[in-house]
């Protein structure tokens, strides 16, 4: 209990004094997860729309696999990416291991299935509504997908936020592929794991509270941005 209170006060002081080290790892956390999120959305939204409008043989199978992969264990993803990017692995020549890029790659793999599954769910419902209209207008497959994605944007925002949540709090994969190197790949979650390992619970908790506050702030910001956009458009 004492640790919890110490953690809270320490978090307060760290933020108040603008601790440069904290700012650096917090920014790196955001950089890694937001980049991964942007890439994942670019992959997941069209994929979800495609699965909604197109009927083909392995559609059900792909959807089932996507849903299953939502529970992909980050440690396993980390290990696979590690083996691929290791100097003795197939992509070793790129020299990406233990860089923020490697962490982004791992997080993209982790959050794409989550975003695609949630996005597909809402796009499918919307497609039932739009189906007759769009078919009668005789629009192309691409236009159908684009319409669905645009009109379901609020639901897709939720999907993206779910992906962000999974990415920002993730530690298993980025610990393995990033290596938790000070000043290079240390982010909030790996710093928390490190401080816990040193038995410095108060500092670990302080970083944890900063992480939670950051997540809430980002969510609020995105919601706020989403709303202003909607008012302007509608």
């Amino acid at each position: 209990m004492v640790d919890l209170w110490d953690g809270l006060t320490q978090a307060f002081w760290l933020v108040l004094t603008g601790d440069p080290e904290l700012a650096e790892i917090a920014l790196r956390s955001l950089y890694v997860t937001l980049t991964a999120l942007a890439i994942a959305c670019v992959i997941a939204f069209p994929l979800a729309a495609f699965l909604a409008v197109r009927r083909f043989r392995f559609r059900r199978l792909i959807i089932a696999i996507l849903n299953a992969l939502m529970g992909l264990p980050p440690v396993v993803v980390g290990l696979i990416v590690y083996v691929l990017l290791s100097r003795s692995g197939p992509l070793g020549v790129l020299g990406l291991l233990f860089t923020p890029t490697a962490m982004i790659i791992a997080q993209v793999i982790i959050i794409v299935p989550l975003i695609a599954s949630i996005a597909h769910q809402s796009l499918r419902d919307l497609w039932q509504e739009y189906h007759d209209l769009l078919i009668s207008m005789n629009v192309s497959q691409r236009q159908k997908m684009r319409t669905l994605i645009w009109d379901a944007r609020r639901a897709l925002l939720t999907a993206a936020l779910a992906g962000f949540g999974r990415g920002i709090g993730e530690v298993g994969a980025i610990m393995i592929v990033g290596g938790n190197i000070d000043n290079v790949t240390r982010v909030l979650t790996t710093a928390i794991a490190l401080e816990t390992g040193k038995g410095a619970f108060a500092l670990a908790l302080a970083l944890g509270f900063v992480l939670i506050a950051l997540t809430i702030a980002i969510n609020l910001t995105i919601h706020w941005l989403g709303q202003t956009e909607r008012e302007g458009r509608w």
Partner: protein, 267 residues
């Protein structure tokens, strides 16, 4: 979005502009001792070299070296290190310094090891009393040391009962577990002194020469991996074996206790 891209490129730039930097895998016990925080800034100042530390167990450090993912390793498990060099993964093994292992346990000491004659005797006492003992269980240098100590005492850890808990975690996490269970554990002195969640644990046994813990520096073989920065690795080696490093290492204390003793042989 623009702002975010700006921050992103800024981070990219800072990551890319690090001119002279090398990666070294070190053990958790070395990092937890706090010595790295003393040495790294000095290395940066003297050599203009940024050493990026990967803090892992000895087992994983050796694997990173084998794969060529790091430029050098600093570990403490002699047999494994010699095999590493013999298999051609490292160019050579250079002893740098040593510290010692200690046996930590509940302060009321139910296995009465604090007055044991030697390390054998104290482990025998723990096994006889069947009091909880936390083992690293992660193939690290400390774990290997602990296993060899049990075998020296004529005991087989695989046959131990419930009281022997292999947690498969780093030094700090294992100490946390021991603190929670109020169990015995083998730790290096530095990690123990630097550990802030001691709870009811106390240092009970130390001083037997078999508990000495030699750290060695092994540059990764550039013949196997041509991207390995062997010139930087050898500059770092020269620094680590220099008078300057000796003073810093011997002068590093926690609670006025000397932790490491420099013993590199100069050529």
């Amino acid at each position: 979005m623009k702002r975010f891209l700006f921050v992103a490129t800024l981070l990219w730039a800072t990551a890319a502009q690090a001119q002279d930097s090398m990666r070294m895998a070190v053990t958790t016990s070395f990092h937890n001792s706090g010595l790295a925080d003393v040495l790294l800034p000095e290395i940066q100042a003297d050599l203009g070299l940024e050493v990026q530390l990967l803090i892992v167990g000895t087992g994983q450090a050796l694997r990173l070296g084998e794969a060529g993912d790091v430029d050098a390793i600093l570990v403490h498990s002699r047999a494994a290190e010699e095999a590493f060099v013999a298999n051609g993964y490292g160019t050579h093994r250079r002893e740098i310094m040593y510290n010692d292992f200690v046996i930590v346990g509940p302060s009321n000491d139910p296995a009465a090891i604090s007055d044991a004659a030697d390390a054998n005797d104290s482990l025998q006492g723990i096994a006889d009393a069947k009091v909880p003992f936390v083992s690293r269980g992660d193939d690290s240098g400390t774990h290997k040391k602990e296993l060899s100590l049990w075998i020296d005492a004529g005991l087989d850890p695989t046959g131990f009962g419930d009281w022997y808990r292999a947690v498969g975690a780093g030094m700090g996490a294992a100490l946390n577990t021991a603190s929670g269970l109020n169990a015995y554990i083998l730790s290096d002195r530095a990690s123990w002194l630097n550990f802030s969640n001691k709870g009811d644990l106390a240092l009970l046994f130390s001083g037997d020469p078999v508990l000495f813990n030699q750290y060695a520096y092994l540059p990764v073989n550039p013949a196997l991996h041509d991207h390995v920065k062997s010139d930087l690795a050898s500059r770092l080696e020269d620094w680590l074996t220099s008078e300057r490093a000796a003073d810093l290492i011997n002068g590093y204390t926690i609670d006025r206790e000397t932790l490491f003793i420099f013993n590199a042989k100069t050529d």
